[in-house]
């Protein structure tokens, strides 16, 4: 006979295993929200936190603790339940968007050799051996036969891509504490409550969307999941039918809202909207600050990177109109400073330097394959953002440029040197430059321009509308052969 005391102990042990706990923190204690609605589906089905937790336990019980799982997700109940289930079991999910092409998926599988794959039933897994373990709703759980001995660092919680659906094998290693602290900070400055109801506008594998999901689950809010974009009737119907109170958008989202004449829309339930994923132009920023002001919607411009889980700063909505173009101030618990080229801290205002961030949400580092998953924290809470910024006398930060050669394309980071390499490997001399959402490829011959754009669009997973080709008779280089990008403007 088991004594009541031991029974209680066992139960406690069981509970500990099911909660999100790391060394110093326990988070996402969702049991207390059992009766709240957790998820609202496109068909307006409302699922409670109890249903969500039951589902996540059901999925989680099929897998081992501390193993790697590929979570191929779309914005649906099964993906969120799987995400929670893996986190609860302390398996480490790798979030991958369901639009990934088969070759890229195969390359990622070979690089990371996960023990399990949780993916939509309709997506086939070819070229690797795996067997079906169970199915759940729209998803199936497969066990691979990768049998490789690698260790997952005890703090490692999650792997996220920095570049959307490109084939890049570079993932960011996030700890339990990273996710927890960032969700807490976001919930605090946005004043998220259980009455909130965000609707998704981007894939959940995208760090910004995941942060919206995390910070709202943390507060017992109801998340409306849809794969529809702002350009679809279904999106607006889902938003209206379920009284969404908020959504987030990358700069391109605001281009779409402008095209749809957001100022004319009647959306009485909308309380606040957020913007991140790249710098919104001053014009659009000012325009939306005014529109939101007139409509009584709080407008938050924010700044982050996947490397920071992702949120680093926000512009308090009251300043949306007076500090247009600013990324605001560091999030609660975080700290910003600027450094000059020699690594000295810049004390003066209005002086440009590299933006450096410190906070608990700075991730552990990168991974390029499964062999990097045993690595500990390489950043020690400090992130050199690669962005150039200035701070004004009021303490607000403004991004003014970038140290590295990359662009933000519809919210995704694209490295210009990598694009050049891809095109050169295909046999064409080229140079790339451009601005966010408009990547310019300069070529010395335009005969195959259509194929080149198609190839790059396919390789990056970015719509061809984002690329423009221009002819130059010669690639401008200096005496040492270095490309003179300034000569292209």
């Amino acid at each position: 006979m088991i004594s009541p005391l031991i029974k209680r102990g066992l139960r406690l042990l069981g509970n500990t295993e099911l909660s999100f706990s790391s060394k110093n923190s326990t988070f996402f204690d969702l049991e207390k929200y059992s009766h709240n609605t957790a998820i609202i589906t496109e068909s307006s089905k409302r699922l409670s936190y109890k249903v969500l937790l039951d589902a996540s336990r059901h999925i989680g019980k099929h897998i081992k603790k501390r193993c790697l799982v590929f979570l191929v997700c779309n914005n649906c109940f099964a993906s969120v339940a799987g995400y929670l289930g893996f986190m609860q079991t302390k398996a480490v999910p790798v979030l991958i968007n369901h639009t990934i092409n088969n070759t890229f998926l195969y390359n990622l599988l070979e690089a990371y050799k996960p023990e399990y794959i949780f993916l939509p039933t309709e997506i086939p897994v070819s070229n690797i051996n795996c067997k079906m373990v169970s199915s759940f709703d729209s998803h199936k759980l497969l066990k691979t036969d990768y049998n490789i001995d690698y260790t997952l660092h005890e703090d490692l919680a999650l792997l996220l891509s920095t570049s959307g659906s490109t084939g890049s094998q570079k993932f960011v290693r996030q700890s339990y504490n990273n996710i927890n602290s960032n969700a807490e900070a976001i919930a605090q400055y946005l004043e998220i409550s259980s009455a909130d109801s965000p609707i998704t506008t981007m894939p959940m594998s995208y760090t910004y969307t995941l942060s919206i999901i995390n910070s709202h689950l943390l507060k017992g809010a109801s998340i409306i999941l849809t794969d529809a974009t702002l350009m679809e009737k279904r999106f607006w119907e889902t938003l209206r039918d379920n009284n969404a109170t908020t959504f987030g958008g990358v700069p391109y989202t605001f281009e779409m809202l402008k095209k749809l004449r957001f100022e004319r829309m009647n959306l009485p339930d909308l309380k606040y909207i957020t913007q991140a994923g790249g710098k919104l132009s001053i014009e659009l920023s000012a325009e939306f600050a005014d529109i939101c002001h007139d409509k009584g919607i709080k407008f938050f411009v924010m700044y982050g990177q996947t490397e920071a889980s992702p949120r680093m700063s926000y512009l308090p909505w009251k300043y949306a109109r007076t500090k247009v173009g600013s990324i605001g101030i560091a999030i609660p618990g975080g700290k910003f400073w600027l450094e000059d080229e020699n690594g000295n801290v810049i004390k003066e205002n209005d002086t440009m330097g590299e933006l450096v961030y410190q906070g608990e949400n700075v991730t552990m580092g990168y991974a390029g394959s499964c062999f990097d998953l045993q690595k500990g924290d390489e950043n020690k809470g400090i992130l050199y953002t690669g962005d150039l910024a200035e701070r004004n006398a009021d303490g607000f930060y403004f991004i003014t440029g970038r140290k590295k050669r990359f662009l933000k394309m519809y919210g995704n980071r694209v490295n210009l040197d990598e694009i050049e390499d891809l095109i050169r490997t295909a046999g064409y001399d080229c140079v790339c430059t451009g601005t966010d959402d408009n990547l310019k490829i300069y070529l010395t011959e335009l005969d195959d321009k259509d194929q080149i754009v198609s190839y790059i669009a396919k390789r990056t997973g970015i719509n061809r509308a984002g690329f423009s080709l221009e002819y130059i008779d010669k690639i401008p280089r200096n005496e040492s052969g270095k490309v003179q990008y300034s000569a292209l403007v």
Binding site: M256, K259, Y410, K458, N463
Partner: protein
């Protein structure tokens, strides 16, 4: 050039597809090129070619090549 030819060309050029692809009831998300970003440029080019300004409801209702005839038709373009 007829309006139908103009209409077809907008799709062919925006999405870099062949004329055959149009007949298979080309619709939103049926090809990678026609996502939200492709949709924005499609609408912008259609507005320019036909010199019209589309309403929100028509932009989000423009879900296929076929449906588009009906929608553009509302703005007085005859096919």
């Amino acid at each position: 050039m007829t309006n139908k030819q103009k209409y077809n060309n907008v799709f062919i050029e925006s999405f870099s597809i062949s004329k055959n692809a149009l007949e298979k009831d080309l619709s939103y998300n049926s090809i990678p090129e026609w996502d939200s970003i492709g949709h924005m440029s499609l609408i912008a080019v259609l507005e320019e070619v036909f010199d019209i300004m589309m309403e929100m409801d028509d932009i989000i209702d423009f879900s296929s090549y076929k449906k588009g005839f009906e929608i553009i038709g509302k703005y007085g373009v005859k096919f």
